[in-house]
């Protein structure tokens, strides 16, 4: 079994469509939320008031990843 010939993947019938959608939607939502906190929060908008701990902590990453920073 050293040749990984791509077989058509088995459709997971046991996994209901709604659960799949929930898993995908939740993953996408949490990812976007994480991106927001790393890239934007406590800069232009802030969910934690005028606190800047998050902003200052990831400061260098924010600059380097291309997000606008003060």
């Amino acid at each position: 079994m050293t040749t990984p010939v791509a077989q058509p993947r088995q459709r997971s019938i046991s996994f209901p469509l709604t659960a799949r959608r929930a898993a995908l939607g939740l993953t996408a939502l949490l990812s976007l939320l994480l991106l927001y906190f790393i890239g934007v929060d406590q800069g232009a908008t802030s969910l934690f008031g005028s606190d800047t701990h998050l902003h200052e902590f990831v400061h260098d990453a924010r600059h380097f990843l291309g997000f606008p920073c003060h």
């Binding site: 079994m1 990984p4 010939v5 791509a6 077989q7 058509p8 993947r9 088995q10 459709r11 997971s12 019938i13 046991s14 996994f15 799949r20 898993a23 995908l24 993953t27 996408a28 949490l30 990812s31 976007l32 994480l34 991106l35 790393i38 890239g39 934007v40 800069g43 232009a44 908008t45 800047t52 701990h53 200052e56 902590f57 990831v58 400061h59 260098d60 990453a61 924010r62 600059h63 380097f64 990843l65 291309g66 997000f67 606008p68 920073c69 003060h70």
Partner: protein, 303 residues
Amino acid sequence: MEFRYIYRGLGAGLLGGLLAFVFARIFAEPLVQEAIDYEDGRHEAQEALDAAAGLTAGAHDHGEVFSRSVQRNLGIGVGMALFGLAVGGLFVVVYLIVSRRYPNIRPRVLAALLAGAGFVGLYLVPFAKYPANPPAIGHEETIGARSALYVTMVAVSVVALGLAVVVGRWLAGRVGTWNASLVAGVVFLVLVGVAMALLPAYGHLGANRAEFGDFATETPQPLTAPNGTIVYPGFPADVLFRFRFYSVVSQLVLWATIALAFGQLAERLAVAPARRQARTAASAADRPAPAPTTAPAPTTAAG
């Protein structure tokens, strides 16, 4: 079934973020320090100018919340690792949607294509309009406008990429895959090109024009005394170029890691049910009882 892919996507993203952090720690951090030193030196020169003019205002020192050491070693590491994790999450969601729609694309090929699309759509095209800036570049008053413009550019880029793919798929049956891909590429470039032409440059924002004059960017210009002599230089061009170049490279590291690591893992996942199927079929063939025409779904594979 999905969760096994999601875990692997997140893991590949995290790994990519950590590798990008290692790159950033070695190559970008010295430049960040140079930029901060420039900013401090400029601040002092400005204060000296203000003192000579009899002004005392304008002294705004932002108290350090975290030391440079924490920002340089821990902050950027956590930031980039979590960025990788988030990007891995988005990547795997798109992968699962597309791979169900087109099950005949080999997993590692699809992973590479999607990672390439993610790099171009989420990072490279927005970068072409609004490139990454080191500290010392960026006016505090415009952070709201700049954030909105950047997010808009990312959104336009991603939507344009999606539209281009839809156009390409639609044309593929009519003019062939090669020509359809070329047309899709042109569609993408035209859409993002129009958006880039319409969106204002950072330097052309109202607040910037009023205070600094007609410059396309917020990159600090030379500081001049009232008599016109330059008392402090503009932001060093070489530092700016290298910072931006390394920013692109680190994103390449991240997306390439996702493409290769996730592609490899997805290949294994894809053949795993086939292997089990083959084993079931082989053991069934040994028995005299008639083999079932379809292999039963591996219910244990879920979760």
